[in-house]
Amino acid sequence: MSSVLYDVPGPKARRVSLIGSVIGSVLIIGLLAWIIMTLAQQGIFEGRRWAIFTRGDVWMLLGNGIGATLSAAAIAAVIAFPLGLMLCLLRISLVPWIRIPTRVVLEFLRGMPVVLMMLFVLLVFGTSSFIAVVAGLVLYNAAIFAEILRAGIQSLPKGQREAGLTIGLTSFQSRMLIELPQAVRRMMPSLVAQLVVLLKDTSLGYIVAYGELLRAVQVMADFLGNAYLFPIFFVAAAIYIAINICVSRLAVWIERRGSKKAAGGVAKAEAAAVETAAK
């Protein structure tokens, strides 16, 4: 699309674009230089501030933080997915008195800040902060997974379910054997994208005093002195962002692979082919 928006640049346009790029780069480099100068004036780049990273225990604490972050995310994801699947089945149930209450519960969970759910579990049930974090993440993400899967099932051609019922499957069998497998496959990119959100949301554990990466930063800064806050924060943030970018890339890769293999039926495949051709 972007190439359709403007002509292939001629010599003049290329010159203008080059000048623009140079000016823009100079501005950004200037801004970065100003930030670095300001930081340097405060002695942020003194060797002794960064020398703490030669100490093993600093890395051990950071490692513990990462471990806590990843384990909360992994456990929450493993519980949330089956729960989301179940909620999805209840949400599209043919029985109104199952469907409607489920819908209310899902709306409730989706409209709620995750951190509020964590605090709720922490204070009302008096659990450990780890359980509070996992429970908050599970409740919220199960609701989102349920909605994603429901959208997937609804996007399937009607004939899939009809065919399933025709060959004598029960409604439940048709859901489990025919519709859900296709829906999961079709919605894979959204599901993985939601996993990134889940991973990012573990950082909310900081607020309920769960010892994840950011809390480890805070603890170390309190313990070693504020002089070390910036270096530690910088390294921890870089690690966090790097992990997230990796998982995001995975989502993009799955999406590309999916559209190439054209999972989910002929109609979708043709549309996708047209779309890629148009780009």
Partner: protein, 216 residues
């Protein structure tokens, strides 16, 4: 139940503060995000690069880290605020603008190629093509996802409560500490007020979606 009625003024104030944070950050993010999306499709390579890096990094930054940076690291670096609301608005709008930029960009991609070709064939330049032809159509198609981003913004503003800003979540924490025996009622009250903001927005999103679906 009594504890909610007793503290109704606090809830109300928190609700207004949450609304204020969301509206201000939302407007900044919408403007910034649209410009970022425009930069992403522009012919100038430096703009494209900058926008790509900004969106990619901010989208993968946990919100708490953005807040931690704005509220705790920035002041240590000499950027001081009168109020922590400013830090919250910086963090929220920087974070949300990345998502808005992605949404607008996908909207730009969904506009039929013929629109851009027609605009260019009548002699429009890039800026004109984008602002007169492409963006008006793109923005219309991405209204439902945009509303979903704004719902997320309202919910995300709760993180501000943990960084010295007294909004709905911040007041909720305070009240929960003050009324240790009625924590559940207090927090359910907070939940109710959040739903008061998010549920109508959600209904709006699905209504608009249905309308757009019919129009297409």
């Amino acid at each position: 139940m009594d504890v909610i009625i007793e503290n109704l003024p606090l809830y109300w104030e928190g609700l207004l503060r949450t609304l204020f944070l969301s509206v201000v950050s939302g407007i900044i993010a919408l403007v910034l995000g649209t410009f970022l999306a425009a930069a992403r499709v522009s012919p100038v390579a430096a703009l494209r690069g900058f926008s790509t890096v900004y969106v990619e990094v901010l989208r993968n930054t946990p919100l708490t880290i953005a807040f931690f940076f704005a509220a705790i690291v920035l002041p240590r670096l000499g950027v001081t605020f009168e109020q922590f609301e400013v830090a919250a608005i910086i963090a929220l709008s920087a974070y949300t603008s990345a998502f808005i930029a992605e949404a607008v960009r996908s909207g730009v991609n969904s506009v039929p190629v013929g629109q851009a070709e027609a605009a260019r064939s009548i002699g429009m330049k890039f800026g004109q093509v984008l602002s007169l032809i492409i963006l008006p159509q793109a923005l219309r198609t991405v209204i439902p996802p945009m509303i979903n981003i704004l719902i997320a913004l309202v919910k995300n503003s709760s993180v501000a409560g943990a960084f010295f800003v007294l909004e709905l979540f911040g007041y909720g924490r305070q009240m929960a500490n003050a009324n240790g025996d009625q924590v559940m009622a207090v927090l359910l009250g907070v939940a109710f007020f959040y739903l008061l903001l998010t549920v109508p927005l959600g209904i709006l999103a699905s209504t608009v979606e249905r309308k757009v679906a019919i129009a297409r």
